[in-house]
């Protein structure tokens, strides 16, 4: 793995919890991630494992009830958690773009898409009214929307889900960000549209040389798209690897289960992965490994002793007692 100094975006030991009536929900419990310029990092895991919370914490967009309890977020040498709110705003949408999980509700229904793209252009690029419109049309064309000159004046409800997600992407890339965080950009869309959106992201990435953090629960997408992968479970990273190694030699029982659950025929490639058993609720994570109740290879110590993420070979790390001490570290 590249040196830490070269990382464009780096998250270290991130802990996030939410205050709820049932108590503090520890949604993210010590996540580390590093993204180099221009690369694609995939973050994979079942629903509820803390992928979105991690992404929102990076941009400091958590709900008021969410608190970053510990950790550091560095972007291009700056400590994001230490920035003032105006400094943070200057980064959002300009140097770090984000595409959300729910294209249907992520656009404001009462403004035209042109208006909504234009806003970013006004605050970060200082464009005037006429220039904004022209630029919005250009961006819509860039994300593959036909008849962009007409679409620019439409409202979100006049567009399909895939089209809305393209608009979201247009907003996110309007200022040519260095990092694009794409939080399950295709989960809500149907299969053919998913492939188109992923192709679009890849094309844009190549053109603009931006780094992408691709959040997904589909390992099939990971294989096509990313260079490196983080596998998350219950708010933690359980395995970290480059893509080829992960598919060749998955180490964590959870990763293996994910791979087994992946249908081999691509027609069903986007079906939700399903693994026997249920994810434990964040309110009752066990003291040991959170996967132990579902793990086929569970050891006696797993329930009480928490394994740490340890390197087993260059660029491959796993948090599992089955592999503890096997690597060179």
């Amino acid at each position: 793995m590249g040196g830490a100094a070269g990382a464009l975006l780096e998250v270290r030991d991130l802990h996030v919890s939410f205050d709820t009536e049932a108590g503090a929900v520890p949604a993210v419990r010590g996540v580390d991630l590093r993204v180099q310029r221009g690369e694609t990092l995939a973050v994979v895991g079942e629903s509820g494992c803390g992928k979105s919370v991690t992404a929102l914490a990076i941009l400091r967009l958590l709900d008021p009830s969410g608190r970053i309890e510990r950790g550091a977020v560095r972007f291009d040498g700056q400590d994001l958690l230490g920035l003032s709110e105006p400094e943070m705003r200057a980064l959002r949408g300009r140097r770090i773009g984000m595409v959300f999980q729910e294209p249907m509700t992520s656009l404001n229904p009462v403004f035209t898409v042109g208006d909504q793209i234009g806003e970013v252009l006004a605050i970060h690029r200082g464009l005037g009214k006429r220039e904004r419109r022209a630029e919005a049309i250009r961006l819509l064309e860039k994300v593959g929307i036909p008849a962009a000159a007409e679409r620019v004046d439409q409202y979100p409800h006049e567009m399909s889900g895939g089209m809305k997600q393209r608009v979201m992407i247009a907003i996110a890339i309007a200022c040519e960000p260095e990092v694009l965080i794409a939080d399950e950009p295709t989960t809500a869309l149907d299969v053919t549209v998913q492939a188109q959106i992923l192709d679009l992201l890849r094309a844009l990435q190549q053109e603009m040389r931006m780094a992408i953090v691709l959040i997904t629960h589909n390992l099939g997408v990971v294989a096509q798209f990313a260079q490196r992968v983080l596998v998350m479970y219950a708010g933690k990273i359980v395995e970290r690897s480059d893509v080829a190694t992960l598919f060749r030699e998955p180490l964590h029982p959870y990763t293996r289960a994910l791979l087994r659950a992946l249908p081999s025929r691509s027609a069903h490639a986007e079906r939700l992965v399903s693994i026997a058993g249920t994810v434990p609720s964040p309110l009752e994570y066990p003291p040991g490994c959170a996967f132990c109740a579902r793990c086929p290879d569970v050891l006696p110590r797993c329930a009480d002793d928490e394994p740490r993420l340890e390197g087993v070979e260059a660029g491959h790390a796993v948090a599992c007692w089955l592999h503890a001490g096997t690597g060179a570290r």
């Binding site: 929102l56 941009l59 967009l61 105006p86 705003r89 200057a90 980064l91 959002r92 949408g93 300009r94 773009g97 984000m98 959300f100 729910e102 509700t105 992520s106 656009l107 404001n108 229904p109 009462v110 403004f111 806003e119 970013v120 605050i123 970060h124 409202y155 409800h157 979201m168 907003i171």
Partner: protein
């Protein structure tokens, strides 16, 4: 066991009960007329677009003719009415014409119901007249156009209204027409109502949005407590309290009576407070809901300052429930002004309405009722337009 049948049976049952109640109250023939009128108005929602264009335009022509007759001869009035109506049939969207097709017959129905109710009330305009010989009363009834039956009066009234554009003579004020009587009162009442509405909306939005941005904060509890107070205190208590504090103690504003528009402040605030409170609650819940939407997060992820997130992205959504309430609020403020005008001695329409009702001056009562109803109808139309602007998803007919 489908719920639709149960609901249908309910509706039929409720309709029959209503009809029976009406028949008992106003007599069977009037009740049937009333039911037919209601059914006809209800039927407008099922009319196809073409028919709506014709019906709406025809009704508009009738109304314009009546209005025009207030100042014009029959010929020019008819030409004007037909011209405008033809243009409207061409140019207006079906939705607007459908509204007209609802609203105009509703106003006629209002006149009918008010007439029936006035005739049900004991006494009549001539009952207190000293010389009450039957011949004299008959002569007076003929002169003022007040037959003995409600339905006959309705016919006389509507004919006069449609053909001459006249609201008739005031029965109890010698030698003056209802229009002359009400004309000086209209601007005063309009100013009062408008001022009250503006105060209600401005105050309500300010308190409600502030509270909604920070639910469960001190600002929230403070403004919602105030709102509870505003809703639960009756008009005359608020009015009296305001008079005591601002007029008697501080001497900033006149107590009551009329002498210029400065006299409108206290009554306007009195009228506005309960509605401000209600609007505050609506704006609060609207704000809370809209701030949880995904698009608010998108707006923040763009790097927008919080001020723009609220004022641009949240405001329109937060306004929607408030705008839907504006129609009923305006109606409530206008009718509420009857009491408040009397309380503060303001010479507006409300006083004529109260006087008219007490004197059984049928024409004056109908004139004020018609005026207020028209105002509310027009206002609701504007609210609809505003709603369409705020929410482009609100589907409209072509």
């Amino acid at each position: 066991m489908s719920g639709r049948w149960a609901r249908g049976a309910w509706a039929v049952g409720a309709g029959l009960a209503l009809l029976a109640g009406l028949a008992w109250l106003v007599g069977p023939s009037s009740a049937l007329l009333l039911a037919a009128g209601l059914a006809a108005i209800g039927g407008v929602s099922w009319l196809p677009g073409r028919a709506v264009r014709v019906v709406g335009a025809a009704l508009l022509a009738g109304t314009l003719f009546a209005c025009g007759r207030g100042g014009l001869d029959a010929g020019p009035a008819a030409a004007l009415a037909l011209g405008v109506a033809a243009l409207a049939a061409r140019l207006l969207p079906v939705a607007a014409l459908r509204r007209l097709a609802f609203a105009i017959p509703s106003l006629v129905l209002l006149v009918f119901v008010t007439t029936l109710l006035m005739y049900e009330a004991p006494g009549n305009p001539f009952a207190q007249e000293r010389v009450a010989s039957p011949q004299v009363e008959e002569a007076l009834r003929a002169q003022y156009g007040v037959p003995r039956s409600g339905t006959a009066f309705f016919a006389v009234y509507m004919k006069r209204l449609l053909l001459d554009g006249s609201l008739g003579p005031a029965i109890k004020v010698q030698g003056r027409g209802v229009v002359d009587l009400l004309a000086p009162a209209v601007p005063i009442s309009m100013a009062l109502g408008l001022l009250a509405l503006i105060i209600a909306v401005a105050l309500g939005l300010l308190l409600g949005i502030r509270a909604g941005l920070r639910p469960q904060s001190a600002a929230d509890y403070g403004s919602m407590g105030l709102a509870m107070l505003g809703i639960s205190l009756p008009n005359f208590v608020i009015g009296a309290a305001l008079m005591i504090v601002f007029a008697l103690q501080l001497g900033w504003l006149p107590v009551a009576g009329w002498g210029g528009y400065a006299h409108l402040w206290l009554p306007a605030v009195t009228l506005a407070l309960p509605y401000a409170a209600y609007i505050a609650r609506l704006a609060r819940s609207g704000t809370i809901e809209v701030m949880q939407q995904d698009f608010i997060r998108t707006a923040r992820a763009k790097g927008l300052p919080e001020r723009s997130v609220v004022l641009k992205h949240a405001l329109k959504g937060a306004l929607l429930p408030v705008v839907s309430f504006l129609g009923p609020a305006a109606a409530g403020i206008l009718t509420g002004s009857f009491v408040v005008e009397t309380l503060f001695g303001i010479p507006g329409m409300g006083q004529w309405f109260v006087k008219g009702a007490l004197n059984r001056d049928y024409s004056v009562v109908l004139g004020t009722a018609l005026f207020y109803a028209t105002l509310i109808t027009v206002f609701n139309l504007l609210v609809d337009l505003a709603y369409g602007w705020l929410d482009p998803r609100a589907v409209s007919e072509p």
